[in-house]
């Protein structure tokens, strides 16, 4: 499988973070022999948002399934859908809305598991801006990252009959939270598990922040999911099932013990403080296993929620090539069902 | 002239005499005109107008004429560095281009045109490299050539470290080094003192004598032209035309003494007069 690893984009360096993951895998595989190479393309940088995979890798769950996992970090110029479609990676993590736009273009990509059951997106603003409810967004400067991350915000505005062009100013956020801090934008998008935490850590008290939660507003769209190239999937059904089994195991463990999961992720990349990784882990756990959600169903695809996402998307993305198709060919539960049998 | 070593430097200049016996027409210039358009909207400059000239194989011809009359232009036309606006030039029955591509020309430019990034030795070496000469032969020849022009000590210097006259001598050494069959020299000795000049004149004649080159020699020095040439061509300016052709029938080999003879002075006067008639 060495030739495959070349196409996977591995870096054999000292700073290699995934190497650390691979070498710490304690147990050997049941098969004992050849491992199947799988590369996973993350949507963003290694952080607790993806803790399930790191825990599974660390604990050797992938190896148990006969998988040699390689986790590729995301970045500003990385599009998981492109990478998975082109074969840079086998499996990718992305948001459902983003996946749907690609599917609508003709990319034969299919979702295989829905990791986050809830939306993690918030609109936060400093209390002094007086944005107590979405109506107050009128006349304000509201930030988002765009590039496929904006549909929930658009849905929210639609719900409150705010015109995105005339009633307020929608602007792009950079990757920092400085714009809210310095006041150059009034309300910023923030993920519960990341940016929101960063704001709190930077010394702003929770009481001084107003928060609009997409779930509460009923405009939530589905976020982190796992997807594959349909063609590749057809040839690797068993591998996908094994991958899912190990991943779900990792996610279950991580959600049950976010503290430990945060530490594992921190050991992969120390750019962020341990506290923040743990905080993120705890918040992510709430999205993966929401209150009242059976941990046995981690990764299950809620077609109704997917359909809502598709509806909003069709509503707010005027340039969408086609209406999103929501069926088994695009959102395929069979792998998950097989894996959780 | 302590700068020079008067060793005989000509023996290595010998060339293949296979076709040196035929003394037919070497260069034929027919009705050649050259007009330079002025790119800035001014009037075009007619550098040469209807020039006709035949140069025989092995002949030593001097071009004389006032500044700006088109001597350099004529040389550049013969060497295929310029194409005439009208008229025709043939060299050995071929186009100048063919002859150039056969590497028959050796040119001493009016400015030395040295390559800044090469030492003096390597500047002289350059044409030989282009000829694909062996390194050992090149080295030997460069040494002899630099000796000839009195610059042996300066071989490792760069051009900017040389005086104007020294640079000009490098240009001469470079042109002679490849033993060209047709030698075009544009005021080669203008920046040299009379003694260096006389020495190089004698050397040049010796080389020419031995090797039967065709030489076209531009100069402003009438005495030099008479001393060296078989024929002196006087050009008149604006536009450049041939105003006189004077055959110099002084016996060869010539030496410094011949410069004192009355015939010599007669030729000089004749040429000077043809000049003034312009």
């Amino acid at each position: 499988s060495s030739d495959k690893s070349a196409t996977g984009g591995t870096e054999t360096t000292a700073a290699e973070t995934t190497a650390a993951v691979e070498t710490t895998a304690a147990e050997t595989t049941a098969a004992g022999g050849e491992l199947d190479k799988v590369t996973l393309q993350l949507k963003w940088l290694p952080q607790s948002q993806f803790m399930g995979y790191y825990v599974a890798a660390e604990k050797g769950y992938y190896e148990e399934e006969g998988i040699d996992i390689e986790i590729l970090p995301g970045g500003s110029d990385i599009i998981p859908e492109q990478n998975v479609y082109n074969g840079v990676a086998n499996i990718g993590v992305t948001w459902v809305s983003s996946l749907m736009t690609y599917q609508a273009q003709g990319y034969e990509l299919q979702e295989i598991a829905q990791i986050f059951q809830k939306s993690g997106l918030l609109l936060v603003s400093k209390a002094e801006t007086g944005i107590a409810s979405p109506e107050d967004l009128a006349g304000k400067k509201v930030g988002n990252w765009f590039g496929g991350n904006e549909y929930e915000i658009l849905a929210l505005l639609e719900k409150y009959q705010l015109d995105k062009n005339s009633d307020l100013e929608l602007v792009q956020q950079d990757y920092t939270m400085d714009q809210v801090k310095e006041g150059s934008i009034d309300a910023a998008s923030a993920m519960t598990y990341n940016e929101f935490g960063l704001l709190l850590e930077s010394g702003i008290a929770k009481e001084d922040l107003n928060v609009i939660d997409m779930n509460d507003e009923g405009v939530a769209m589905m976020e982190d999911c796992l997807f594959v190239n349909s063609e590749w999937a057809a040839e690797n059904e068993d591998l996908i099932v094994r991958f899912l089994r190990a991943s779900i195991k990792g996610w279950a463990e991580a959600s049950a013990n976010p503290q430990a999961a945060g530490e594992i992720v921190y050991n992969v990349d120390k750019s962020v403080s341990l506290e923040h990784q743990v905080y993120m882990a705890e918040e992510v756990a709430k999205l993966v296993v929401p209150e009242g959600f059976d941990p046995a169903n981690i990764g299950s695809i809620d077609m109704a929620a997917i359909q809502q996402t598709a509806d909003y998307l069709a509503l707010y993305n005027k340039d969408l090539a086609a209406t999103p198709v929501v069926d088994d060919s695009t959102f395929t539960a069979k792998y998950w069902e097989e894996a959780t049998k | 002239m302590e700068a020079f070593n008067y060793t005989d430097t000509t023996e290595f200049m010998e060339r293949d005499f296979s076709n040196s016996k035929e003394t037919g027409t070497e260069i034929k210039i027919e009705n050649v005109s050259m007009v330079f358009p002025d790119k800035n909207g001014g009037e075009p400059v007619t550098a040469l107008q209807n020039v006709n000239l035949e140069i025989k194989q092995g002949e030593f011809i001097s071009l004389l004429g006032p500044s700006g009359c088109g001597k350099t232009t004529l040389l550049r036309l013969i060497a295929d560095l310029l194409q005439p606006t009208s008229g025709n030039i043939t060299v050995r029955g071929e186009t100048p281009r063919d002859v150039r591509l056969k590497k028959k020309y050796g040119i001493v430019f009016q400015n030395p045109v040295l390559y800044d990034w090469r030492t003096i030795r390597r500047n002289v070496c350059m044409p030989m490299e282009l000829m694909g000469m062996k390194k050992s032969e090149r080295t030997a020849r460069v040494t002899k050539m630099l000796e000839l022009v009195g610059l042996l000590d300066f071989g490792k210097h760069y051009p900017y470290e040389l005086s104007g006259g020294m640079q000009q001598r490098v240009g001469i050494a470079r042109a002679l080094a490849i033993k060209p069959e047709i030698l075009l020299m544009d005021e080669p000795f203008s920046a040299l003192d009379e003694f260096t000049r006389e020495k190089l004149q004698i050397d040049l004649l010796r080389i020419w004598n031995k090797t039967n080159k065709t030489v076209i020699f531009v100069t402003h020095n009438i005495s030099e032209a008479v001393f060296l040439s078989d024929r002196v061509v006087v050009l008149s300016p604006h536009p450049g035309r041939v105003s006189a052709v004077v055959d110099i029938d002084l016996p060869r080999p010539r030496d410094m003494e011949c410069r004192q003879t009355p015939e010599f002075f007669d030729y000089m006067t004749k040429i000077r007069n043809s000049f003034e008639g312009v």
Partner: protein
């Protein structure tokens, strides 16, 4: 005149050939691409014409910032070269400092500029300025100092002041190098302006359009922005060449 026609016809026909190959999906076959991965020209044009007004506004937004930044960056770069020339002992190090800015990626510059400037325009100008300084400083330093032999002696023999040496000798001598630098900086400025928009607090501009659309997989739209950027780049470049031909007609490169 004939040459001029040739100069237009040749690149154009080559371009048409390329576009035809692209349209005929030969390039897709070569790359193993599906049409939705790399949109074909007709689709790009269709998309572009559909969104033409917005594309024009976005283009103007970007080009304005790029041009202002280009001008400021070139002026700063030139001034550094002048200082390095006039005060060789103390100024020379300035060249290294300014060249070093080229090592700071726009990804890092943009957020810094976001802090310094409230407006997206200011941020863009700031980024482009930094990006353009180095090429101008280095090239114009070369032009100001690579004088022909004795050119400076002539000035000195007339006891020309440093100012006169500068304006009558160094500056004209430097013109060709300035044009070289501008040629490098025109595409660099446009690109920097675009990338800065990836992070800018606005939702307009070519860069935003490219990023937003490519990220969403809307390739035709994304590529139509790239086409716009290229057109602007080519037009600006042609403009520079025309100005150059007039300004330095005496130079060997223009004969």
């Amino acid at each position: 005149m004939k040459d001029k026609i040739k100069n237009i016809v040749l690149p154009a026909s080559f371009g048409i050939l390329m576009i035809a190959l692209w349209e005929g999906r030969m390039i897709h076959k070569l790359l193993g691409f599906k049409p939705f991965q790399l949109p074909i020209p007709s689709e790009i044009i269709k998309t572009l014409s559909k969104n033409f007004n917005k594309a024009i506004i976005d283009t103007l937004t970007t080009v304005n910032g790029a041009l202002v930044g280009l001008v400021i960056g070139c002026i700063i770069g030139f001034l550094v070269a002048v200082i390095a020339t006039q005060f060789p002992k103390w100024g020379y190090t300035g060249l290294t400092v300014i060249a070093t800015f080229n090592a700071i990626p726009i990804v890092a510059l943009s957020p810094i500029m976001n802090r310094w400037f409230e407006s997206g325009f200011g941020q863009k100008v700031g980024v482009v300025t930094v990006v353009c300084m180095g090429a101008m400083a280095i090239n114009s330093y070369r032009g100001l100092n690579d004088l022909k032999p004795f050119a400076r002696d002539l000035m000195q023999s007339y006891a020309a002041s440093e100012k006169e040496v500068f304006f009558k000798l160094r500056l004209p001598n430097c013109l060709p190098s300035i044009f070289t630098a501008i040629k490098i900086n025109v595409p660099a400025a446009l690109m920097a302006a675009m990338i800065s928009e990836y992070f800018a607090a606005s939702t307009s501009g070519l860069g935003f359009g490219v990023k937003d659309n490519l990220r969403k997989g809307m390739m035709a739209m994304g590529w139509s922005y790239i086409v716009m950027a290229s057109l602007v780049g080519i037009i600006l470049y042609l403009f520079i060449i025309v100005v150059e031909r007039r300004a330095i007609k005496w130079h060997a490169s223009q004969r």
